[in-house]
Structure formats: structure tokens, C-alpha cells
């Protein structure tokens, strides 16, 4: 660039700068207005209408009543004039009634004598004759908020989240007596279990996202939220050295695990609400066993410095408490959007602590004069993944 040509950016006044910035926006407005008003000469290209409907939560609030949330996922307005239940056209009301605008929703209420413990299928028929089907796998009254049920759900969350984490923490005194090498093994094991949890959280988030209307773009949303979470946490914790701040690291591990357990609770609560809560003793046992490893991971960074009992309880509450909260939310007020967001944040939090604990392991092995990719670390990592994987046999269905 020749030096005697002035840089226009530097010679312009502030107002002309704004003008330059706004010009494309104004032109965009004009183009949009033209398209809306005239169709832009594309009338012949107007395609066939595509109808998509997202069927959200189905509830059975009382005997003989089915309600369902429906979101219009299509590019245009659509109407649901008829409803079938179990292959029979059925009376229904919609609130609000009539056509559903794009991204709009309505609640459909059907006075249908559903049968306790049996499956039902509901099909919505559109103006164009498209069908959208949802099933009630096991019909049962949707849990209504009541004191006793609230308490029972809380108890489930307690067994599944808080109790195992607390039990796992009880290995702390034993861990303090371990050699540096053995402790490093435990830390590697923590990395392994966290990696397992990250994968599990990703899959759970995906599962919730599948039920979302298309415009939420489930997978990109999960990825972005997780990445943002990692970024924020790194920015917060990046300045500190995990060696000096073991308690901070433990809290971050507990937070990540807590969000994961929130997801677990959500799934359990939602399963209850959908009549699939065959959560027998065996399953509770499985969750307890599965989650006990989490307690080890949380306290592993703390072996050099005992932070005191109060901190342990707080850590346990952060890691295990959300399971209780999740069971309540999932059972009484399930929201797939929020659930997906929570799990995505959890995923980010877990990925961030994997990074942090990993660094800790790297420093420790260097201090012990061991190879980073040696048998000790690799063995610990594998043991962590294997523990989670095999104890999950009892809770996957």
C-alpha cells in the first residue's frame, strides 16, 4: 500500500463510521421487505409444505384424562384437527385452540379412559393428513406434588447421590496413608472415572436433546454450552496452581459430578413420572455402588491437607445433593430444555476437571520420576473407567 494514500478509516468522522456500519443493515431490511411483499419472483419455487410437530411431555393428571404439550416445528403454521388414541378418533380440546404458529405450542387435553399399567399410543392428525405419534409406555397417574411423594423422591435422590458420595469419601483416611505412588494411581483412577462420566453426561444430554424441537439444535447447543463452561472455569481457575489449591480443585470436581448426578436424578424422576420407575432395591443398590467411586475422586486431591469435616460435608452435598434435586425436577416439573442445558454445563465442568486433575497427575509423576504415560498412570486410568463401566451394568436398562 502506498504511503501517501490516507487510511480512510482514520479520516472518517464518528458519524460516517456509524453510517458505514448501518448501511448493510438498512439494505438488508429493504431486501427482506421486498421478499415479504413480492415473493422476490420465487413464487414458482414455493415448495410443498412440510409439517413437523414435536410432542413434548405427556401427562396423566387424573383418571380418564391425558394431556400433552405440542410444539409446531414446521416452517409454517399448522393445525391439528383430529386426534386418535389407540387407533380411535377421540374427543379433545386444545389450549390455545386453532392453528399453531411456527414455534408456537399448545396443550392438548383428551378425556380418555386410560388403563393403569398398560401402554397407549396417541396419534395427532394434521390438516394435510400427516400423523405424529407418541406413546405412553406405562400409563400411571403423573406424580402430583404431595408431601409424602416429595419425601420419597428425595429419599431416592439421597440413596442414589448423596449416600454413595459420602461412603466413597470414607476412604479418605486410608488414602492419606498411601504412598505417593499409590496416591498417584488413585488420581489417575479419578481421571478415568471423570472421563467415563464425561462420556455418560454427553450421551444423557444427547438423549434429552433428541426430545427437543428441532430449532433448539440439540447437539450444537450441548457442544457450545460445554465449551463455554470449560472456558469460564479455566478462566476462573487458570491462575491458580492445583497443588496449592487442592480444596478448590475438589470443589470443581464435586460441581462437575454434582451436575452429572443432577442429570441422573432428572432421568430417574422423569422415568417415575412416565410410569417406568421400576426402581427396585436392586437398582438403588446399583446406583449406590456405581456412584461410590465419585467420592474417591472428590477427596483424592485433598490427601496432603485435611480441610476439616465441614468441608467434606459441603463437598458431598454439592456432588450428591443435585441427585435429590434432579429427581424432584424430573418427577414433578420435567423440562427437556433446562435438562439439556444443565447436563451440557455438567459436561463442560467435568471436562475442565479432567484437564485439571490430569495436570496434577502429570506433575506428580514428574516429581516421582515416573514416565507420564507409564503403567502406573495407565493402570489407574483404566481402573477408573473399568470401575464405572462394570458397576453401571446394574443400572443400565
Amino acid at each position: 500500500m502506498s504511503t501517501n494514500v490516507p487510511n480512510p478509516a482514520k479520516t472518517g468522522t464518528a458519524s460516517s463510521l456509524w453510517g458505514l456500519a448501518i448501511l448493510p443493515v438498512l439494505l438488508l431490511g429493504a431486501v427482506l421487505a421486498y421478499l415479504v411483499a413480492t415473493g422476490g419472483g420465487l413464487k414458482g419455487l414455493s415448495g410443498l409444505p412440510v409439517e413437523q410437530l414435536n410432542i413434548g411431555r405427556i401427562t396423566l393428571p387424573e383418571r380418564g384424562v391425558i394431556t400433552m404439550q405440542v410444539v409446531n416445528d414446521s416452517p409454517q403454521t399448522m393445525t391439528i384437527p383430529q386426534v386418535m388414541v389407540d387407533d380411535a378418533f377421540w374427543n379433545f380440546t386444545a389450549d390455545p385452540p386453532g392453528p399453531i404458529p411456527r414455534l408456537g405450542s399448545t396443550t392438548i387435553t383428551i378425556p380418555y379412559p386410560w388403563v393403569e399399567g398398560e401402554a397407549h399410543s396417541i396419534t395427532l392428525l394434521s390438516t394435510l393428513g400427516a400423523t405424529f405419534t407418541a406413546t405412553i409406555p406405562v400409563a400411571t397417574l403423573t406424580p402430583q406434588l404431595s408431601g409424602s411423594l416429595f419425601a420419597r423422591f428425595g429419599l431416592v435422590g439421597l440413596y442414589v447421590g448423596l449416600v454413595p458420595v459420602l461412603l466413597g469419601m470414607l476412604w479418605y483416611p486410608w488414602m492419606r496413608r498411601l504412598s505417593g505412588r499409590a496416591m498417584n494411581f488413585i488420581l489417575s483412577l479419578t481421571v478415568g472415572l471423570l472421563v467415563y462420566l464425561a462420556i455418560g453426561t454427553w450421551l444423557d444430554a444427547q438423549e434429552f436433546a433428541v426430545g427437543l424441537p428441532a430449532f433448539w439444535q440439540g447437539t450444537p447447543a450441548i457442544t457450545l454450552i460445554a465449551v463455554l463452561t470449560v472456558g469460564v472455569l479455566l478462566a476462573i481457575s487458570g491462575k491458580r496452581n492445583a497443588d496449592e489449591q487442592p480444596l478448590g480443585l475438589s470443589y470443581r470436581i464435586a460441581t462437575g459430578i454434582g451436575l452429572h448426578n443432577l442429570g441422573e436424578g432428572l432421568a430417574i424422576g422423569a422415568a417415575f413420572a412416565m410410569g417406568e420407575g421400576a426402581l427396585g432395591t436392586f437398582l438403588i443398590l446399583g446406583f449406590t455402588l456405581h456412584n461410590i467411586t465419585e467420592g474417591i475422586g472428590i477427596v483424592a486431591p485433598l490427601v496432603k491437607r485435611n480441610p476439616g469435616l465441614k468441608q467434606f460435608f459441603l463437598l458431598a452435598l454439592i456432588a450428591g445433593g443435585p441427585a435429590i434435586l434432579g429427581t424432584w425436577i424430573g418427577g414433578f416439573a420435567f423440562n427437556p430444555v433446562l435438562s439439556t442445558v444443565f447436563l451440557a454445563i455438567g459436561l463442560g465442568a467435568i471436562v475442565q476437571v479432567v484437564w485439571e486433575v490430569g495436570q496434577l497427575v502429570v506433575r506428580n509423576t514428574a516429581r516421582l520420576g515416573l514416565p507420564v504415560a507409564g503403567w502406573s498412570n495407565f493402570g489407574g486410568f483404566t481402573a477408573g473407567v473399568a470401575l464405572m463401566y462394570f458397576t453401571a451394568f446394574m443400572v443400565k436398562f
Binding site: Q76, T79, F89, L125, L128, T131, V210, E276
Partner: protein
């Protein structure tokens, strides 16, 4: 933890254009010419109904709202008695000649309140015109194809090969814009049908190209109140299975508007099954028994005193019965699934003295009554 998530959408990705804009118009109120017995009302939640309310409400099992028959251009109630004798003249040899004109047209029809179907039709209606003649009449059907697909008319009967209305016979498929004259003598007498036989057969039939073809025996049949009931169904999402079942196209129409008949009079049904995708259909009469004439080709019943018959695809027959009691009596196939998906109706049996009032209640007139009782094409047996 995976199965608790609901199964999601089954959907028809690509649909016919033209209804997209209509989507905003329907569903709220249909301007029918019928008494609003069950006008759509999304504002009040009805109590969970457990007892049938007599007026076609099978508990909560119903279609919400009413179909706009005026916009459709045909009314299932009128189709019951809508015999078409054609333009009658006499051939030099003394034979009766009946001239018909049938035009294939594409038309979007409302098959259930607020649900539109991209039909292929004969004369803009589904089913097409009910052709009625006497055994031995010469029929001349001029067929125009005003659609974008080849079509034919295939008559069930006895005729020359080139008149069979199938690909490869005579003119074969009648191309868009073309026409052809089908000509043959009506035989044998019976309850027959005609339909398009172009390929692909399933689609050409199920999209609406069919109609009743009734050939009266030379001596006629005993006087009776006669109705034509054509059992059809619609695969609205084109997945090879029907969503809506009916007689004369509109589901639950005769449940919403019971058919008025007189106690004690002979009732004769011309019952035709044009179902696609499902192998069988049937008919069950409540609180009554009937005589059945398989295919209508005999003057003596082929089954006596039965209350349920089964018809395969393309089968048909004539039913005769009388009611001993007044009241509303259901009829439907004894295939519960079809019953609950729209193929269910009622006869409203009244004393002769109350018949005029019953007609009026159903939105019908004396002309409808006359067509029902004088539909035969045999001299001295009505029109």
C-alpha cells in the same frame, strides 16, 4: 435410562402443495349446511364422557367438528340415494341406451373435519356417481381425463376385452387430456362397482377413483327403502395403512346424522367394499338380522338371518331387513379398529307418523325420501 424418552415423530415429509395456506383456515369453524350437532369447540372441556349420548357419540370416540359438504361438492347423506340413470334413449333395436359422462378430476376433499386429502375423483366426488340401470341396457360412458395422470374406468360386469379399462386392453390407459367411450350391455344384474385400473392400482383406487354400479334385475326387486353404502378409507400419510375409515367417504357422518327410516318397512342396502391396504371389511347390524345376497346376482338370499357379514376387497352384496323397534341402532363392521376410526353409523327408526319430522331433523327433504323409495330403474318401480 434410554427407553423412557418418548418415541418421536412419524411424519410425512413432503406433502401436496395448496393445503398449506388452507391450514390456517380450517379447524376453527366449518360452515356446513347441516345442524351443528357437534360443532368444534375448543374452549370448553367436556366432562370425560362414559355413556354414549345417542347422537353418535360413542363415548368420546368421535371426530371433532363437522365437514363442509358444500365446499366438498357432495354430501354422504345424499350419496345414499343418489342414483344416476344417465341420459335415457332407445336404440333402433328397442334396447334402452343410457349415456353417461364421467370426468376424472383432481380435487382436494375434506374427509374428516379439518383434514384434507388430495383425491383423484370421478366427477369431482368420492365415491363417483352411482350408475344404476336395468339388466340388458346398453351403457355408453364417455370418459374424459382432466388430470395429470393416465386413468381408466374398469367396470365389474361382462363386456368385450377392449372395454375392460385396463392397461393394454383396447385404448389402455386414457392419457391426460384424452377421452374414450366405454360401451357395453349391463349384465349380470347385481350390486357391482367400477374403479380406475391404471397403475399403480393401489394408489389409483385408494385416492378416490371408484363408484357403485347397480344393475337392477329385469323384473325389479320388491319395493324397499334403498341406500347405497360404499365402504372406503383413506391413507392420509401415504404409508400404506389407512388413517380414516368410512361409508361414503366422511368418517362418523351417519353417527353424527343418523339415517331416518320407518319401523317395519323393508330396507335394502347396496353395500360395496373398496378398501385398500386392509384385507377385509364387514357389516354388522345392531338389534337386527338381515338376508344377504352375495354380489346381488341372485333373487334369493345367499345367507339368511345373519347379523354380520365379511367382505374382502372389491366384494359387495345386498342386505335386506326390517326394524321391529323404534330407536337408534348402530351399524358398523365388526372390526373394532375400523369402527373407532370412523366407519360407524346409526339408523334412526321412527313410526311412520313421525317420519316427516325425522327427515326434517336430519336436514333432509321429501326428494331424498322419494329417491330412497323409488330408485329402481325398472318400469313401474319408480323413477
Amino acid at each position: 435410562m434410554s427407553r423412557w424418552l418418548q418415541s418421536l415423530l412419524s411424519r410425512r415429509d413432503v406433502l401436496r402443495a395448496g393445503a398449506g395456506s388452507a391450514a390456517a383456515l380450517v379447524g376453527a369453524q366449518a360452515v356446513g349446511q347441516v345442524p351443528p350437532a357437534a360443532a368444534m369447540d375448543h374452549t370448553k372441556m367436556p366432562p370425560p364422557a362414559t355413556s354414549p349420548k345417542g347422537h353418535g357419540e360413542h363415548g368420546g370416540n368421535l371426530l371433532v367438528g363437522t365437514v363442509d359438504h358444500v365446499r366438498n361438492g357432495f354430501d354422504p347423506m345424499q350419496l345414499l340415494t343418489d342414483w344416476d340413470g344417465g341420459k335415457v334413449s332407445r336404440l333402433p333395436n328397442g334396447q334402452t341406451l343410457r349415456d353417461y359422462t364421467i370426468t376424472a378430476q383432481e380435487k382436494e376433499i375434506e374427509i374428516a373435519p379439518g383434514v384434507f386429502f388430495p383425491a383423484w375423483t370421478y366427477n369431482g366426488r368420492v365415491p363417483g356417481p352411482t350408475l344404476r340401470c336395468t339388466e340388458g341396457d346398453r351403457l355408453r360412458i364417455t370418459f374424459f381425463n382432466h388430470t395429470s395422470h393416465p386413468h381408466t374406468i374398469h367396470f365389474h360386469g361382462v363386456h368385450a376385452a377392449e372395454m375392460d379399462g385396463v392397461p393394454g386392453a383396447g385404448p389402455g390407459e386414457i392419457q391426460p387430456g384424452a377421452s374414450f367411450v366405454y360401451e357395453f350391455d349391463a349384465e349380470p344384474f347385481g350390486c357391482h362397482l367400477y374403479h380406475c385400473h391404471a397403475t399403480s392400482l393401489k394408489r389409483h383406487i385408494h385416492k378416490g377413483m371408484y363408484g357403485a354400479f347397480i344393475v337392477d334385475p329385469r323384473g325389479g326387486r320388491p319395493p324397499a327403502r334403498e341406500f347405497m353404502m360404499l365402504q372406503n378409507a383413506f391413507d392420509t400419510n401415504f404409508d400404506g395403512a389407512n388413517e380414516i375409515y368410512a361409508v361414503n367417504t366422511v368418517g362418523f357422518e351417519f353417527a353424527r346424522r343418523p339415517i331416518p327410516v320407518k319401523k317395519g318397512e323393508l330396507i335394502r342396502l347396496y353395500l360395496i367394499n373398496i378398501l385398500e391396504f386392509d384385507l377385509i371389511n364387514g357389516f354388522h347390524l345392531h338389534a337386527n338380522f338381515f338376508n344377504y345376497y352375495d354380489t346381488g346376482t341372485t333373487l334369493e338370499p345367499t345367507s339368511r338371518i345373519v347379523d354380520t357379514i365379511t367382505q374382502g376387497q372389491g366384494q359387495r352384496g345386498i342386505l335386506e331387513f326390517r326394524y321391529r323397534f323404534t330407536g337408534q341402532f348402530m351399524f358398523h363392521p365388526h372390526i373394532s379398529e375400523f369402527t373407532e376410526l370412523g366407519w360407524m353409523g346409526l339408523f334412526n327408526v321412527v313410526e311412520s307418523a313421525n317420519y316427516a319430522a325425522a327427515l326434517k331433523d336430519a336436514g333432509l327433504d321429501a326428494a331424498w325420501d322419494r329417491r330412497a323409495t323409488q330408485g329402481s330403474t325398472v318400469k313401474g318401480q319408480g323413477a
